[in-house]
């Protein structure tokens, strides 16, 4: 199995909309053992100036990994998911994610580099909301590096 070097520079347009729900924020917060009331209690979130429940700092991974799935599912990519190891992750928030947001993610393949028999692939998801006037509002940028292990790695 070889990783297609032509993947670098490729991008995948935003596909489905991700609707951020209150119960999903609460569920994700519990799953990462977050206890801050702004994830659970609307009044607590509003007291901090937010319009609704605030998502935990790594919540955007849900949206980012859905976008990554497009690349992994692309038969031209040559990625065997069972050999994927998560190597690096970064979240840059342009504004908080709150319940009620409708998010889309555009995926960019920023880097593909051979490592031993495998490859390190860096992707960037530009996560945005579409406002009522149809303008894009940047919400978060996530970058992820995955190591696809070669045989015997």
């Amino acid at each position: 199995m070889t990783i297609n070097p032509d993947l670098q520079g490729r991008s995948y347009p935003a596909a489905e909309v991700y609707d951020v729900g209150r119960e999903k924020i609460r569920e994700f917060a519990r799953a990462v053992k977050a206890t801050h009331p702004a994830h659970f209690d609307i009044e607590a979130a509003r007291a901090l100036g937010h319009s609704d429940l605030v998502a935990p700092p790594t919540f955007a991974i849900i949206v980012a990994q859905r976008a990554d799935a497009q690349l992994i599912a692309d038969p031209e990519s040559g990625i065997d998911f069972s050999r994927v190891v998560h190597a690096e992750q970064r979240f840059t928030h342009h504004r908080p994610i709150v319940a009620g947001d409708q998010l889309r993610a555009e995926l960019h393949v920023d880097g593909v580099r051979a490592m031993g028999g495998g490859a390190m692939i860096t992707t960037r998801a530009e996560i945005f909301a579409v406002r009522e006037d149809n303008q894009r509002e940047s919400v978060a940028t996530t970058t992820s590096s995955i190591l696809v292990r070669g045989e015997g790695q």
């Binding site: 569920e27 990462v32 801050h36 702004a38 700092p57 050999r83 970064r90």
Partner: protein, 145 residues
């Protein structure tokens, strides 16, 4: 939020936390995140791909470690940037049916840098399991007043 940049110093400790992890926690994280890779919940699958056993999602470790910063900052939305490298897996023993954790992750945070212009503090996290660092360059940038 009441943290003020002028009241912080580089090297200052923000606190520590122990995170107890069970196999059930990994199933919960899988469901909440949508990452159902069986290496995080199925022993025989994990060992078949040359892992020593079931390991925590890297994103579980990253996501739970930052709670120390969210709570210190007073507002989770103050964490405007957060990055890490995953260096070692967190092996979670099967303690199902007991009250014992399957693994304990230790988190400590210090103020690593202060930026007067952007009014942010960089918090450097040390995240260890069984005495070894499992995350490297784990840094959270917090927006201050």
């Amino acid at each position: 939020m009441s943290l003020k940049l002028e009241e912080l110093t580089v090297g200052q400790e923000i606190g520590t936390r122990s995170i107890e992890v069970t196999r059930q926690d990994l199933v919960k994280y899988a469901g909440a995140s949508g990452d159902f890779n069986p290496i995080h919940w199925n022993e025989s699958f994990a060992t078949s791909v040359e892992l020593p056993g079931v390991i925590a999602h890297g994103m579980f470790t990253m996501g739970s470690a930052v709670q120390l910063v969210s709570d210190w900052a007073g507002d989770p939305a103050a964490v405007v940037d957060y990055q890490t490298r995953f260096t070692k897996p967190v092996l979670v023993a099967d303690t199902t049916g007991t009250s014992e954790p399957g693994a304990v992750i230790e988190v400590a945070g210090v103020v690593g840098a202060l930026d007067v212009e952007s009014r942010t503090a960089r918090i450097d996290l040390t995240v260890t399991f069984a005495g070894q660092k499992v995350l490297m360059k784990s840094q959270a940038v917090v927006k201050l007043t």
